[in-house]
């Protein structure tokens, strides 16, 4: 009889998922982060909640990108320090869902 054991979960890199999404990247960023507020932020909720994994702490500094933003707004809602200025990209730019 085949033994069904719990296998370790295989995590798919977020980049692979984002490759399936169509973006028309605007040269003007629609997200601005006041990164000085991030330096002593222990929680860094943005790093965890962003569904595109756009926020990262590297060497104690906040790094982020806006190019593959799914435009949900979760980051600015989660940021307790209100350090994220978030707006929609210009009309027609940014993400375009096709199959969802």
């Amino acid at each position: 009889m085949q033994q069904i054991a719990s296998e370790p979960v295989v995590m798919q890199p977020i980049e692979e998922r984002l490759e399936l999404v169509r973006f028309k990247v605007d040269k003007r960023p629609h997200i601005r982060v006041h990164t000085e507020a991030c330096r002593d932020c222990d929680l860094t909720p943005c790093v965890y909640v962003c569904p595109a994994g756009l926020f990262e702490i590297l060497g104690g500094e906040m790094h982020f990108s806006y190019e593959h933003c799914l435009e949900c707004g979760t980051c600015y809602v989660a940021c307790e320090r209100k350090a994220i200025e978030w707006d929609y990209p210009r009309g027609g730019w940014g993400v375009s869902f096709r199959a969802s």
Binding site: R17, P45, Y48, V77, D87, S100
Partner: protein
Amino acid sequence: MHAQQQFDVIVVGAGPAGSSAALVLARAGLRVALIERGEYPGAKNVSGAVFYAPGLLAELLPTFWDEAPFERYITRRVLTFLGKESAFSLDFRTRHFATPPYNGVTILRPKFDRWLASKAVEAGALLITSTVVDDLLYEGERVIGVQCRRDDGALYAPVVIAADGANSFLAKKAGLQREFSAEEMSLGVKEVLRLGERTIEERFNLTGDEGMASEYVGEATGSVKGGAFLYTNRDTLSLGVIVQIASLAQQRVRPYELLDRFKQHPAVAPLVRDGVTLEYSAHMIPEGGWQLIPRLVRAGLLVAGDAAALVFAAGIFLEGMNFAVASGLAAAETALEAHRHGDFSTATLTGYRKRLEQSFVLQDLQRFRLTPAFVNNERLQNLYPELLCQAAEQVFRSEGRPRKKLGSTILATLRCKVSLWTLLRDGWQAGRALFF
């Protein structure tokens, strides 16, 4: 002011709320601008997506059932409590949901929203895509138009309907909505997997155009508050997880990792096997319920759909698009009335709220206002699904030993982890939230 910049009504957002409103207003002969920030309607929109009570639109569009791009009508509803390696399901199916007006249909938003907006355009609305509305224009306290993010971007109308979605910057700028807290907003992440029509019918026991809406609580989202869903489209599956943003941040889990875990759960993996992912998407959902609903009206402005937090996320109910459509229609009727009287004051537009109070929109949200908090109960999320599975396992276990009667077996399992008192209290709260 150019004549072409003056409209009778401006609708911001070509989702279900905005397009329904624009359709009714254009049909009544008003000059309607329907403004959408995406390249096409639906480009920025994500739902599960089951559209419940589609009859709301079929009443307006007689050709709806022949023409509307829906995927499958829902005849099977499943609710599953997921343990770590087990699952306990309630599985309901009925042919009574298999004839028009269907109880619910699955849709793909880029297709469906584009189609619905095209109906508003056929009725005479002017659809302006690729255009962000940055702000409202005022005369004194009264909203008299919108400022689009383009040259000469001012558009004027005596009444504006803000159907600009979950983030609704317009409702906030108008002072109707406050800043959101991470406790009352959820994040949904979703994948669409291609499986093929035949595989879907065989795997989910469906015939023809029948469809299934299946929802999961418990291990579906690990220790994060939320749930998961799996819906059948014609030849694809829509599946995803919906989690409370505050809980996600506290548990320090990434939403797409939850998606991976859900897809690989032993009770889910066989259902999605060999599925080819076509797209990944995400959207914020105003799931806070009754207390998240903003003021809906000010002079010259009505707020509808997700922008007004009209989302019915009450445990076994996960509905939004029907609430959006109904609120869009109510907003349109109110705007029509205002035009008939030439009066766009707060007093006249308050008829919008009254219409919603008389419909299921505010009645359901009010009646089930305790449910969102109940659904986020720590034990309901992280303990009871596992316990339910353990109890079932004890009941069904056959080991060649004498059995106790079921009551003692189940109680013994439950009482290892939770006191009878807590159990009774949670039972009472479940009752208050959903039953009486």
